[in-house]
Symmetry: C2
Subunit: 458 residues, 2 copies
């Protein structure tokens, strides 16, 4: 907890002595410093960053949430802001600019251009990509060398790059031909194992696992996980190397995607930020919109109930088992949809597998339905009063089997359908499936009741 202490009363004293401040911060991981800065008022952070060497300040700044970055940079003078942005990693800088209003973007890029025109070009290049694709995730900091480069020259080049660049991107050297076309890859490990005078073309691996700049980030994560890669090259449609994505960014993507999926599956619009960081009214909106949509959907349950009012008033016992039956359907449907949504999201299943899944889920519905129906029959048999025990028991038992089969089929097929028509399967959330099954379940229940009670009466 020394870091927390450091930012307490000593802070003002340290600010007067930039060297001591820098040395104090150097003791800690930038990620830990950033977490602490995130809790300080923007004004104090701006003061602090100004007192630090620009490179160090940029290292902290780029780890803060983008919103906070904006608020802080606004408090700086133009000259300081431009210096700081120049020192940021290219992908973080692009993220910073991406989130600004159009006119702010233009003004900032102009100011950056006065300082370093090349940097603006690089940034505009990155801004062209959708942030949720490989292009949006990648950085342009990598080592790309011509095939005739000698091993010793390559090591020199790595050394030069490593002095400034990020650590992780110097372990793979990309061999590029005319117009930066990707020809192969050499690891630093290969380099230090080879003769100094060999050309890198002779030791490179030509089968390079790569992604296109338009590849979606989930797919990038899948490829990186599948091939256990620390870094993956990104090419355009002409096989030209445009950047690299590192695995640490992918870990963040996987965690983010899992959270978004969970929230969609929980029946709400996914949050952009964490639970506590999301404003109350934004949360009301993102939950309320789905709650209202589902509520209107549920109107159908009331309609089905109304059209069976006569049956209900003559046999009130029928009403007693309604929550039990429709909820059991909802639970079975929720299991199916969860399984299929996850299988889709990790790439195990695709809409083409629908018949295999359908067959399996119908059988699953029969097995689960029979299992639960036995218990339901017994419960209903001993509840009969105005209705005959056997009639009520059978109505409940048969309904459960039918409702559970309906639920497993709906729960498994709807996510596949969503994916097929290009929607996110996780939108077919547990509440959505449960609502659908509620309506279908009531229809099934009343149909079964009518035919069984009718049969006995007849």
């Amino acid at each position: 907890m020394r870091l927390a202490t450091l930012l307490g009363p000593d802070l003002k004293a340290l600010q007067a002595d930039p060297e001591a401040l820098r040395d104090a911060f150097r003791e800690f991981h930038p990620e830990d410093v950033a977490e602490l800065l995130d809790d300080l008022p923007e004004k104090d952070v701006a003061e602090l960053l100004k007192a630090l060497p620009t490179e160090m300040a940029a290292d902290f700044l780029e780890r803060l949430p983008v919103e906070k970055q904006h608020d802080i940079v606004e408090l700086l003078e133009d000259r300081d802001a431009v210096e700081l942005l120049t020192e940021m990693d290219p992908d973080d800088r692009a993220d910073f600019i991406e989130e600004l209003e159009d006119h702010e973007q233009k003004a900032l890029l102009e100011k950056l251009g006065e300082a370093d025109p090349e940097l603006v070009e690089e940034t505009q290049e990155l801004l062209r990509y959708d942030p949720y694709t490989a292009g949006g995730l990648m950085t342009t900091e990598y080592v790309g060398l011509a095939p005739e480069t000698k091993v010793w020259e390559a090591i020199e080049e790595v050394r030069r790059h490593a002095r400034e660049g990020e650590a992780e991107t110097v372990y793979y050297i990309y061999v590029v031909g005319y117009g930066d076309k990707l020809l192969g890859v050499v690891s630093l490990r290969d380099l230090i194992l080879s003769e100094a005078s060999q050309a890198i073309a002779d030791i490179m691996t030509e089968k390079v696992v790569k992604v296109e700049s338009t590849t979606e980030q989930e797919e990038v994560a899948r490829v990186i996980a599948r091939y256990d890669l620390p870094v993956i090259p990104v090419v355009d449609e002409h096989e030209v190397l445009v950047g690299v994505v590192t695995v640490d960014d992918v870990v963040d993507v996987v965690i983010e995607e899992a959270t978004e999926d969970a929230q969609r599956m929980g029946g709400m619009v996914p949050l952009d930020e964490s639970y506590f960081a999301t404003g109350f009214f934004e949360l009301v909106w993102k939950r309320g919109i789905w709650l209202v949509v589902l509520f209107f959907g549920q109107f159908l349950t009331a309609t089905v109930m109304e059209s069976n009012e006569a049956a209900l008033s003559t046999m009130v016992e029928l009403a007693i088992f309604i929550p039990l039956i429709i909820s059991t359907g909802g639970n079975a449907g929720s299991q199916s949809s969860t399984l299929i949504i996850r299988a889709l999201s990790i790439g195990e299943a695709s809409p083409r597998d629908w018949y295999r899944i359908l067959g399996r889920e119908v059988l699953m519905g029969v097995a689960l339905g029979v299992m639960v129906a036995g218990i339901g029959f017994a419960r209903a048999y001993f509840a009969g009063d105005r209705v005959e025990p056997l009639e009520l028991g059978l109505t409940v038992g048969v309904s459960i089997v039918a409702v559970v089969i309906t639920a497993t089929v709906v729960g498994s097929m709807v996510p596949l359908l969503m994916r097929r028509v290009g929607l996110d399967p996780a939108v077919s959330s547990t509440p959505f499936i449960a609502s659908l099954v509620d309506v279908l379940g009531l229809l099934v229940y009343f149909a079964v009741a009518r035919s069984i009670v009718g049969a006995f009466v007849g």
Copy 2:
């Protein structure tokens, strides 16, 4: 699809010519070969692996599911099996042995011991750790050097290690003192940037981000993601370096954990394998057990309904809105539990935050409840028949507000309680919360109905 063709009719011909077979396979990434082998019968895979150089065969074998590995190795002669296991990565070998029966473990370790006693020691070391901890994830393949080692010696050592070892673990060199105590870390990047004659102690970073061998795998993933590390050292309780975990294994852990969480939240026992790889009866069991438990829980809804039979038979309109009201509660509860379970699982919230969360969720319940209740009031107002429209409308509206508040409170507090008592919060699945809210919702509904209708009648 050339790989698929390769494994077709040409396979028999290639088996006769091991050299051609080896060259053919070398064209592809081992991960792709493994996927194809996974679809072949065990007997054919065993034949193939025997024809390949042991190192290559081990590289394919360790990428198959452990069950399949067992089936294949059983078909090999002892001598071949031992050779193959010797070539496997230490962590994969430990996983292979971990899953065997006790007596099989003992027999195999004995046979391995005849070939290489040191290997058995290393494996037994790894077997000592819980597979879901840092110790279970780690590999013992890393470079650890004494602090007085010169930079040029260290590079030589890395070179020696890289000739055999895995690529990713040679980029970080751990500086260890007496008894392998972890003193610092040097990256290969630091090495190539430093003077050849410097001691590594002079260039090492002493603040090493590390985990303990007993740290749970979710926590390892969190630390690696937070600090963007490609590899993290694992120490025992005396700060002795015992292994390293690489980020690619962590990506797999994160994906696995997200799937397990999703399945738990979908109301079932998480699967050990993927959807298609899980046997039908195992799936029936893992889904059925929860379905039955929840079904018994739902009995309470029938009981509540029975005890209000009189009210229901005099005012059958009351029954009409039951599915609508309890499902809306279920949906709101599902949103809350999803948000809190995710916040717990990414480390954003902890049970200590309960009062902050409670306050927020009560207000959220009021806001969401009022929003939906307005619509519900209108729907019920125009459905009245034997009951007065206003009475029915108010009963439905007020119930919805009360049920939604109950739902947000239950949905947010139950996961916190689960974590507090040491259970996985994801066990408080959407179906579980929905079932709980069903029962509470009915109690609320009938209580509200009685007091409102009573008030009007009185």
